[in-house]
């Protein structure tokens, strides 16, 4: 993550620039496009939340993001 929108859902959950997203919904992700696909899939499946595994300076943790409705 290079930038976190200050008013976005991610900032609300404590994401910081420099954090690395490791997994989305239980699947490893290696690039920003894979993240977009994974989140898009969850959205299409009608999920309200998607579990994201994040690595930050303090270690690794899981954060459940509520999916905004497009």
């Amino acid at each position: 993550m290079t930038q976190v929108e200050p008013d976005g859902v991610a900032a609300e959950h404590g994401f910081k620039a420099g954090d690395v997203i490791l997994e989305v919904a239980g699947r490893k992700v290696a690039s920003p496009s894979e993240i977009r696909v994974a989140v898009g899939n969850a959205q299409r499946e009608g999920k309200r939340t998607v579990l994201i595994r994040v690595k930050s300076g303090e270690g690794t943790k899981f954060v459940a993001l509520r999916l905004g409705r497009a």
Binding site: G14, T49, L51, R53, T60, F62
Partner: protein, 448 residues
Amino acid sequence: MSDTPARKLRLLSPRHLGLLAGVAGLGVVGFLAVPEVAPSFKLPALSSSVAYAQNAQRPVGFADIVEQVKPAVISVRVKMDGGPRLMGFDALPTPRATPGSPMDRFFRRSPDSGVPNIPGVPDDPRRQAPGRNLVTGQGSGFFISADGYAVTNNHVVDKAETVEVGTDDGKTYSAKVIGTDPRTDVALIKVDGRDDFPHVRFADKPPRIGDWVLAVGNPFGLGGTVTAGIVSARGRDIGAGPYDDFIQIDAPVNRGNSGGPTFDVDGGVIGVNTAIYSPSGGSVGIAFAIPAETVKSVISQLKDKGAVSRGWIGVQIQPVTADIADSLGLKGAQGALVAEPQANGPAVKAGIQAGDVITAVNGTPVRDARDLARQIGAMSPGTTVRLTVLQKGQEKTISVALGELPNEREARATPESREPQSGLALPRLGLTLAPASRSRAAVARAWS
């Protein structure tokens, strides 16, 4: 300044009177209710108010219990090295006070800070010989055996160079520290030389919310102070440690009460007074005691081997919030989510992965992340446990041979540092809490 103590003590007395009035009020209510259900013409013998008064239930005092238990309660005085004298007024050890924080300001007791300067109480330990800055501190404790074992808080004695015990009959003894457990803030000390110390026992069963309790201790150096209240809540997590499970009581507890006992009305110890929440520095009727079951198991280990060993599975866990439960397809926000298993830890070896939710230990449901830490920590290293685990949507039972929680390292079978979304009541209120000991530290402060 000379009238400060008197003013402070007066401030405390209305609280006390208020309690008595409350008790008396119960009697009055009973008295007033009688005429409604029993009209006087049916019960002529009760028609005079004198007869009513004789039949009304009187408030019950606690003097009989106090007489039994108070001799076993001690004051614990410690001397510790406060560091080089250069530090001057800041030399009081205040490990949890961040510079500039309200807590820090609180510790820099200015003459008008409202902290009573009670005559006869060595309040300013910094007036000492040059060179080393010896700091004194005071707490409370209680004998649990005739041969002089006594319980107090870890934070009362952990930095002590010498420990002195003052008994209810005015005698002073030197004591040695047998063992301390920082994680629960329990310490076991021992006074040698007598085998007839008055002592108390732990209550057989946990108290219920609403039960009467008595706190006995040494607030502000006022030894043998008895206060009464009720159990206000149980199972409080105040952010003091990984195994927080405090009993909240509303008996007035102040600095110096730390390590002192809370009794039930049978004279059994139900808890060890450890912290208070206070916006003012004095008691506002919110005190926290370590439950007797915890204290019992900790002191038996301290007595046997001077330290406490805890089971350890080697996972970093985080709370299962409603959103996380939803994202995993769980029905309720229960269990503990494995954020990261530690390399080569017992959990990894047994096949536990990041993202697993541990829902039960030996069939006992895991309420939340702290509950898992408590359950595992209460078991001995070497024990094999059956964990019910939700792994990639499938429920499994995984057997894990417990390792030993490393003593100096951060607890890692314990919840990860507090999450903003963890929903724990007290931290969300923006308060911090600290031990209620006389010198080092104190008292909880709140800010928004």
